[in-house]
Symmetry: C2
Subunit: 772 residues, 2 copies
Amino acid sequence: MEKRYLEIDEWKIVEEGWDPANHMKSESIFSIGNGRMGQRANFEETYSGNTLQGSYVAGVYYPDKTKVGWWKNGYPEYFAKVLNSVNWIGINISVDGEQLDLNACAVSNFRRELDMQHGLLSRSFDVKFTNGKTLRIDSKRFLSLVRDEVGAIAYSFTPVNFEGAVVVTPYLDFDVENHDANWEEKFWDSVEERVAAQKGTVTAKTKKLDFQVSAAMRFEVAEGDQHITLYPNTDQREKFVSNTVELRVEQGKTYTIYKYAGITSSMNYKTKDLALAADTLASEAMRDGFDALYEEHANAWLEKWSTSDIIIDGDPAAQQAIRFNIFHLFQTFTGVDPRLNIGPKGFTGEKYGGSTYWDTEAYCLPFYLSTTDQSVARNLLIYRYNHLQKAIENAEKLGFTNGAALYPMVTMNGEECHNEWEITFEEIHRNGAIAYGIFNYVRHTLDRDYLHEYGFEVLLAISRFWAQRVNWSEARGKYVMLGVTGPNEYENNVNNNFYTNKMATWTMAYTLEVIDELKENHPDAYAKLVEKTHFDEETETKEWHEIIANIAIPFDDKQQVYLQQDGFLDKDLRPASSLAVEERPINQHWSWDRILRSCFIKQADVLQGLYFFEHQYDKATIRRNFDFYEPMTVHESSLSPCVHVILASRIGYGEKAYELYLRTARLDLDDYNREVHEGLHITSMAGTWMSVVQGFGGMKIIKEKLVFEPLLPEGWKALHFMLRWRGAVLKVNVTHSTLKVENVSDVEAEFHYGPHVHRVAANGEIKLELTK
Amino acid sequence: MEKRYLEIDEWKIVEEGWDPANHMKSESIFSIGNGRMGQRANFEETYSGNTLQGSYVAGVYYPDKTKVGWWKNGYPEYFAKVLNSVNWIGINISVDGEQLDLNACAVSNFRRELDMQHGLLSRSFDVKFTNGKTLRIDSKRFLSLVRDEVGAIAYSFTPVNFEGAVVVTPYLDFDVENHDANWEEKFWDSVEERVAAQKGTVTAKTKKLDFQVSAAMRFEVAEGDQHITLYPNTDQREKFVSNTVELRVEQGKTYTIYKYAGITSSMNYKTKDLALAADTLASEAMRDGFDALYEEHANAWLEKWSTSDIIIDGDPAAQQAIRFNIFHLFQTFTGVDPRLNIGPKGFTGEKYGGSTYWDTEAYCLPFYLSTTDQSVARNLLIYRYNHLQKAIENAEKLGFTNGAALYPMVTMNGEECHNEWEITFEEIHRNGAIAYGIFNYVRHTLDRDYLHEYGFEVLLAISRFWAQRVNWSEARGKYVMLGVTGPNEYENNVNNNFYTNKMATWTMAYTLEVIDELKENHPDAYAKLVEKTHFDEETETKEWHEIIANIAIPFDDKQQVYLQQDGFLDKDLRPASSLAVEERPINQHWSWDRILRSCFIKQADVLQGLYFFEHQYDKATIRRNFDFYEPMTVHESSLSPCVHVILASRIGYGEKAYELYLRTARLDLDDYNREVHEGLHITSMAGTWMSVVQGFGGMKIIKEKLVFEPLLPEGWKALHFMLRWRGAVLKVNVTHSTLKVENVSDVEAEFHYGPHVHRVAANGEIKLELTK
């Protein structure tokens, strides 16, 4: 962990004092977004120091030519990059010909603040130019949660010790770079620039795929609340427009540039309408004004918090962290558009490209299921449904037939982007997570219609994949699954990974259940699906039954634990605690072969399976496997601690649970992995939420029933979280001795605690004493 | 196999008729080289069609920045590229302002010929310019085997139907590209250009590592044997010099440009002397003249053939092929310089980079041992000795200690260049081949001094590596070796690969033998070595003994075969013959995961072990394993068929042996894999030699004794090959009924046939009837 430089505050992230060494981290941490767009906390004004410029438009990407050492048949031709897009925030400020540049000028009283409750980024500082002239700067900006193609900035400056001229240049710049471009290319070509007094638009298109994005700006300047009449000089060049205004300023007075941007993409408009639409948005925003825009935006945030907030009583650092995580999850994905998904870095960086990993189903879905309208989770599922044909084509490339689907490891549009054989072709458990997502959605919402409308086709295609992916081992008299990479990516190309085999047979079993349900309740719909999918029910389901009954499940009789894969016990088994500090993280110090042949585990693998299928395993089994695997786990994935927190809570390992929770909760705020400058770990933030709600809060679904089994960390006085459950909204309050469930909706709900079932009436409340 | 376009001739490769589609193939096939330099059969004159320009100087390479999709700790920073170097052959010809260009002019009577007996490339054709003027061209060139920094060209033209002006421009051009540059850079920077009438030099250096190469040219022009006085215009620019001469020519007369090049590199000269040395070489070459140079060169080739030729009576295509292979092996490596080695493409292309793979010890060493002075093989071994320190450092990067060495997979200077984890870090059996090379050299030559002078240190370092690379499996009660890639690269990251485990324990056992021998015969030298290597004999050898005694060797009791690796029998076992034709080669049609989990074998793996250690296995064992593995082998490495030819011959599978031989013998001449345009498969040519001599000729070494066990293909009347054996030179002649061994040296030799030992007196001869 880096030295903490941010202040602890329950609702805010605060950076006091200017240290350029922290700036790129803060650019990530203070990012703003509204699900449609995102913006790193880059400065409005010129900055000549180290920076990662990032302005992202959801769904717009670049298929950068794949870079590999040695090409292997089947590799994808491209890797979809999250695209740095138009710089819409830019406002250059100069005094006597010198640019305001925090890397060049003297800075004091610097403060940066992210108000998570209202979604506002603000910044203030004093800046002294070479000639001694000093400005006080105060800037605020947000990306509207209500008008999700609008951004607004109020950039104020006050001459502290002079009067005279200040030159301001608001601009739009599309001549931007992607840090991670494989061949050092720029990805955008100019389409059109237009500029006039106090406004301008730039439109650009991607060099491949012809995505178009337009940005429009409008701006005005006021002294206090007095509007100033401007006579700007306009400028334009390829991919760039600006206005330059020389303002005559008086000492001690405050001048504010209000800049409004409309940003539209060809995801949502015809290209011919794009620039006009952007300009209309900017123009309407300016008409309504910064304060009104902000008010509607802040209210929308308060509304989000009202059904999603978590309160941790007694641990301000944890309180700040959990809100930070919830805040960024909502900034990344609001669920209104089923074409969008949750990238590992959201809108906070370029790393990992793509938008969708198995993180979505395995880690993010529970968060959205519990905190938002069920349409949001449904849209996440429909995203995969819409990619089914591409997943089938992807499987065909790998030799599969008969409508078998392999969903991609990383994708933007359903096509595979990853290019390491051991992941791309072998980390196939991702397919299982997508099936599990359907199961999890249906048991949480009881939206059973989803199954015949969408779910069955996906489940069938995945089951078909599994059925073809195993083979019969004559020698062993079992079905085996050879050559896979499990969730623990510190093993590659292994045979009979417990987790993958489990996911495979579980998918088939669940699909069989769904078939029975459809035949019973929706026979007509089912008949149509059978025809559409050329489903030979008798033959195919017979094969599934055989595989389910005869799959190889590696198990050690002596220790009574599931084995991560064939041959796991041949390893030199030793605890991660035996590793020297200077060898950790091992992925930065060991060569890959050494990692692979070691016993050390990157993230939950067998335990991931036990977490998903907790309803199938008793506590003794969970404990034995936890005791065997967790000590060998190095948790070098940000997705690792959460599952362990939950299982540890379940088996009463409170101290262990809290220790692991600390590794996930403030991962980015405290920059544990020294990589936060590249962006935030968005999807693992959902894992942190799971740690709190499913771990300490003890929320779980067992046989379609809601169950609480809380275990509060010792230092916490109380935990309060919200839960949407089949139409009801529950406020759950856990202390060391009580469990209170308040139903703040008009829908009755029921939950289990211990052996008892409890009904909470609409707008009712139940308070229980916890058994020890 | 492509349609054969080359004529069958026992000593020549002949291409009749001009088809541009064949040109790049011919550029590879007709390459010339002398161990110090190589030159693809590019045209002297301008050629605007598809071409791979290639002019290579041994030992000079470029460390191109590694290109990988996802960086893994331990990857090398660079990949050493074989460097396309100065174009020294260039002679532009123009008539009335039009360039002679076979891609633009009308061509007839084209013939290209490579005289393998004398090492001469020649080419003739008629070329008609747009204006109807026709030239007859006749060009010859060679790289002198005697003066290995000299190339000579005699380029003749005869005006067929006109008199007037022909403009000729001999030049040197260092402004060249590497086709395989990762970032599309040029690798050479100019150092100096000088030009004067009838001569010029260019010197360039590599952008990294500062290799320098100078090329000098001298030229003159004659009409018949009449020297023509020239008044050339000189030209120079960066990395380029030329002379341009306008010749007044008469119809029907023949004009010849004699161009001599001297090419020197900083491998062999101080940089300040480089250009002068090159010019001196060119000047001396011109002084001696083309005919004299050629005579000494051709005689040197005849001398080489006198102890290496193979005669196949009754199969002209096989006859041509085996000479083609021997010819290119000698063009690639002559053994005079222990800093040089045998790249997979020799001097015929860029592909695979590097100069040295395990091919050298496993496939090439036997050829050089049998056909050249033993100093040549010794130099190949010393090459590795000289890289020992780097191999130790390489192992340290992977976490090994105490002087353990891991030799690189691909190298120029001892540093690892390969960048795929499953190869770089896991294909560690290469280490065993290097130990085996020492064993093979010593048993062939009885040069036991090599062991204390060089061999022991290498053996010790490799044994130390193996001892650290295994681990004790508590569950199995055996030492295991996890996470390796065997010779069959269609399996990655497997456990207990039979071949690798065998090589490991064999290395330790052989090192123990060598220790005993050194202690007995060279106790003082041994004591010094112990000190130098900090060898704790007692502890370390005790550990080796334990590992040897307790290594896991996967074996199937039921079928009594060694298993390629743990779990091999879990695969869907089926013969390669069950693959659809359109799926082959599978590496071009299947995704990598499918290849990995299939049973299909790229090249000999278990069988490679049985080949190396034939003296330890009985014929029934070889037959059982051959019967089990060969049917699953797809032979998609050029190194695969040879080992199978040898084993098939040994177990009496004559038809199978010949079928497989056909796949290796004319691999390049008939372009089986449709890739000969990229260069020739130099190292597998040595495998072809092994197929003939060790397979059909039945030559083997069992317990340090020379044994013949021939099995001639049915269609062959007789096979004649040469063999250097412990100072003797043997001519071996095999027919279907006789074995004749003629000793053409002054050293007595002995060999075994069946149960009997036979002594062949100096200059004597023994002829035996073969038992059926």
